[in-house]
Subunit: 338 residues, 2 copies
Amino acid sequence: MEPVAAESGGVDVLGIGNAIVDVVAYAEDRLLEQLDLVKGAMTLVDESRCEFLYRRMGPAHEVSGGSCANTMAALASLGGRAAYIGRVRDDQLGEVFGHDIRAAGVTFRSRPSTEGPSTARCLVFVTPDAQRTMATYLGACVELAPEDVDPELVRAAEITYLEGYLWDRPEAKAACRKAAAICHRAGRKLALTLSDPFCVDRWRGEFRELVTREVDILFANEAEITSLYEVADFDRALQEVRRHVHFAVLTRGARGSVVVRGEEVHVIDAVPPDRLLDTTGAGDLYAAGFLRGFTAGLDLGTCGRLGSLCAAEIIAQYGARAERPLRPLFDRVNGAGP
Amino acid sequence: MEPVAAESGGVDVLGIGNAIVDVVAYAEDRLLEQLDLVKGAMTLVDESRCEFLYRRMGPAHEVSGGSCANTMAALASLGGRAAYIGRVRDDQLGEVFGHDIRAAGVTFRSRPSTEGPSTARCLVFVTPDAQRTMATYLGACVELAPEDVDPELVRAAEITYLEGYLWDRPEAKAACRKAAAICHRAGRKLALTLSDPFCVDRWRGEFRELVTREVDILFANEAEITSLYEVADFDRALQEVRRHVHFAVLTRGARGSVVVRGEEVHVIDAVPPDRLLDTTGAGDLYAAGFLRGFTAGLDLGTCGRLGSLCAAEIIAQYGARAERPLRPLFDRVNGAGP
């Protein structure tokens, strides 16, 4: 029997997202050009394009991914109580995804699909500058639907955390709407990450309305927030955020992050990593650190610093799932560590 | 169409081995104790034990492995012409294995099994001291048989490189015998790696005869060579090697390596790694460096130094497949690099 955080007295954060296995390979910039991939972006691809790209990709390794799932795995590794909802198929990669998220300590009870497309995969091309360029085949993720949202789990969670990527599929979006309604009725908090500037482009109108009316905590990076408000620089986006959103966590890569809640504003430095190998997961891990601190009742500045520590940890390795337990980082900011 | 080194003017090294996908996870020592695993060793397990161990394993990542396949992938990454024979199943992990070895530039034409056990996997537990403890489910590898050995490929290869692990299955051993006979009739060289001290324990008599009569280049680490001759220390093993084997490459971890060919003896220092994260693949990569140098006509001391450079590269990362191209290491020892 897997450990079920939900059954042992509540959940800090329930994440809902696309359940994806990452296929990560080193690539030179000229390969991206040859393959007509937009550097730094996540592009959705169909199965045949995915197969074509995989054949051209270098030797790779596989690691469970999915932005929101990465955040939940890291939250659990930090000692938080995390749960996750997402769809895989009953194939080898689906087994890998389920194993990894449960082994990380996350409650994951979504049943795998027994027919239809295979488990989703994301081809991640890591260039020498440590940037990642992604091509995602959504596969079984397209089966995610409102009936996958377990109302008990939503009510048990202090925060329900959605990823913007889910807006790309109508049924997944409906699942998010259902979760949001249950969450608010239960007096819980709803969080959203904007996921990707191109995703914001596709759903700008809906996202603007959502962040103004329904989202309690907004996560976005600089490219996403400037895309949301169609402004040219970060400070202009910040002014828009302060007019429309009560509580936002805005990440800026090496330039750190800004946390805004009403009148409260924190400008937090990035933590320089031991080495810069692969930026995959920097935003996901920042969110995990922030949410871990927030649900533990730490002040917002400390939450941001824990986010920065987690981001620095993940960009010093390949992939977005930490190779070593993250708990010592929480202990450090919480005054219990060395 | 994959690049086929064999069709473009010969092969430096043809490897025959167990085609395995590694499932690599960080583990505390006490988990090994709880699971009754022999630290530092490779244990063969059946499917149900493999499933049991996987459920207890932490979050993992998957990367193509197999000792001999690791060596061939690294040889190709160093700019050598490599080919590989091994059996996978036509499942997702088999697809991963085939992709990775071909993408590394290795000629791999073994057809996947369409029935029978799934692609082999090796659960690799990496402890804080960077040691790896392995449990291998051989799966589709048990289907490897003499008919998989393509005589053309053996004749095209300057060296045929076998892994001792193959002795654990009678049909695979028969495949090795067939390859050895073709290799010698064609006036080519036969190389063998002893793979693992417990494997040597299981096949000591046969291995002793083999290395004396048939093997042109023997690869072994300290534990394996002392096990082969049942002696207490390295120097005693070395004296036995010099009596029985014309050409041997003996690795000793941080204590470096010793290369013996007739009267010629080289004692080569290890290269300190940037960091020590996971010793998986140190021996495989040393062999790749050595074989790349040897087939390029470099002197034995330089071959050993290239082996040491490759080993240092791989122990600074998780897993036994290099994350970045190895060619610069070859260029460095060959006087062409920076």
